[in-house]
Amino acid sequence: MAKALKINTRDNVGVLLEGIRSGETVDVMTGEGVMQLEARQEIPFGHKIALANLSADQPIIKYGEEIGRARTAILAGDWIHLHNLYCRRGHEDRGEQDKR
């Protein structure tokens, strides 16, 4: 079974330790145990899977810190990447453009 890593207890994403197909179940090692989750899309090695449902603009947490915010509503098991995460840092003057 495919594995993923929840790096920090505060994280709401896991990192895939191998690539998985849509519908496959993944074992997420949380440091406190193993949580099982079904991938809603194909997710490559090293990429992120949502561990919880997130609403638009909610912080996305990895390493225990905010790495960006949800561009749209995200469901547990979704692949998280450029299509649904925005980050304004280094682009402060662009403001709302980042969300497009």
Binding site: V15, F45, Y63, C87, G90, H91, D93
Partner: protein
């Protein structure tokens, strides 16, 4: 036993290599410098595109960078080659390097006559310095005599999980032993500034960390504003994105693991050497060449370079040790990579892999060639500009 075999110098830390550097003060002297080095086994040329038609801080950074390079402990001696009419005068560069107590020779093409006469004089200087250098032998030095450069490039998701934590373990051991470690790549620290400021030894250093990262973020924001540059506004590379990284903050939070867990002793300007032991932040951008050149120009005798995607590059005369946390990359680019930290992804303890990495650092510091050295990679010498 945590020691390495190095070359004692008149001042400062020992060298991990013992070569002669031929450094042009201006790009007009590049061919003469290159041909001197080509004719003398044990000499290396450092050709660059700067040294004239620059003003202010841009010219000053060139001067600081080349002086810091020349002072580097891996170079027994230096031959400075000038043209004569350039803004960064050969004499200024030679005197700046000679302040470190090492032998420095200087020649100026317009004074020698022509290319042929300048090469002949430079070859004679370089031959004599290489002969002198060859009389030195390696001696044992403790970890406290090591200044390690920390760098990542071609980052992917394994960098923050495996390669950088393994390197961070090494950083902590070196700093605990009274050695030095320097990290930089300030363009890729955005989002980690509060964590780093919280690790500063005092409020002054915390303020310097925040302003160093804040200044770079302002520069990037200005450069990425405007509709016509939107196709050039990404702060991380396509390779980073393919490797699973989505934002610059995610890259930063994984990147700072290589700086370990200890307190940050200070911030360094480009070309500045640490005043004492500890962990330092160097003010330089994330470009692999500019950052490694900055680390060398601050005296790092070795650089450990973590890479998820894999990169072959090296620096002349200074070992750049490539480590990856990505097993597939290690298998694919085997001969470009010195160390596999991928076991951490599969569950090996960070301390166990870190201890092996420290051993590798000490072996390479003692003379074992890094893969980049074996293959002749020298792309990373690159003077920073503003």
């Amino acid at each position: 036993m945590n020691t390495f075999q190095g070359y004692r110098r008149a001042q400062g830390l020992p060298g991990t290599r013992n070569v002669v550097a031929v450094i042009p003060s201006v790009f007009c002297a590049n061919t003469v410098a290159r041909r001197i080095a080509e004719q003398v086994d044990g000499a290396m040329a450092f050709c660059h595109p700067v040294g004239c038609s620059q003003v202010g801080l841009d010219l000053e950074l060139t001067a600081r960078g080349l002086k810091g390079l020349g002072r580097h402990p891996n170079f027994y001696g230096v031959v400075v080659v000038g043209l004569g009419c350039e803004r960064l005068q050969a004499r200024e560069l030679a005197e700046g390097i000679a302040a470190s107590g090492k032998p420095v020779e200087m020649l100026v093409i317009q004074e020698e006559g022509d290319t042929l006469q300048a090469i002949a004089k430079g070859v004679a200087f370089a031959c004599r310095l290489v002969e002198e250098a060859s009389r030195q032998t390696r001696e044992a030095f403790p970890l406290s005599e090591l200044s390690l450069g920390l760098k990542c490039g071609g980052t992917d998701a394994t960098s923050g999980i495996a390669a950088n934590p393994a390197l961070g373990w090494v950083t902590d051991r070196i700093c605990e032993a009274g050695g030095r470690a320097i990290f930089t790549e300030v363009t890729e620290l955005i989002g980690a500034e509060q964590i780093l400021a919280g690790r500063a030894v005092n409020p002054k250093v915390a303020g310097q960390i925040l302003s160093t990262i804040g200044n770079i973020e302002k520069r990037l924001s200005a450069a990425t504003t405007g509709a016509e540059m939107q196709h050039r506004s990404a702060l991380i590379s396509p390779g980073n994105q393919d490797g699973g990284l989505t934002s610059v903050v995610e890259k930063a939070l994984g990147g700072i693991y290589k700086a370990g867990t200890g307190s940050i002793s200070g911030c360094l300007g480009y070309g500045e050497y640490p005043a004492g032991p500890g962990l330092y932040l160097l003010d330089c951008v994330g470009h692999d060449g500019e950052a490694v050149t900055g680390l060398v120009a601050s005296g790092c005798q070795e650089v450990v370079f973590t890479t998820g995607r894999g990169t072959p590059t090296g620096f002349p005369g200074v070992p750049v040790i490539k480590i990856t946390g990505n097993r597939a990359t290690y298998d694919r680019m085997r001969f470009n990579l010195d160390f596999n930290a991928g076991g951490i992804v599969e569950g090996r303890p960070i301390a166990e892999v870190g201890a092996e990495l420290l051993e590798k650092v000490l072996r390479i510091g003692s003379g074992e060639p890094s893969r980049a050295e074996l293959l002749g990679h020298d792309e990373l010498f690159c003077i920073t500009r503003i």
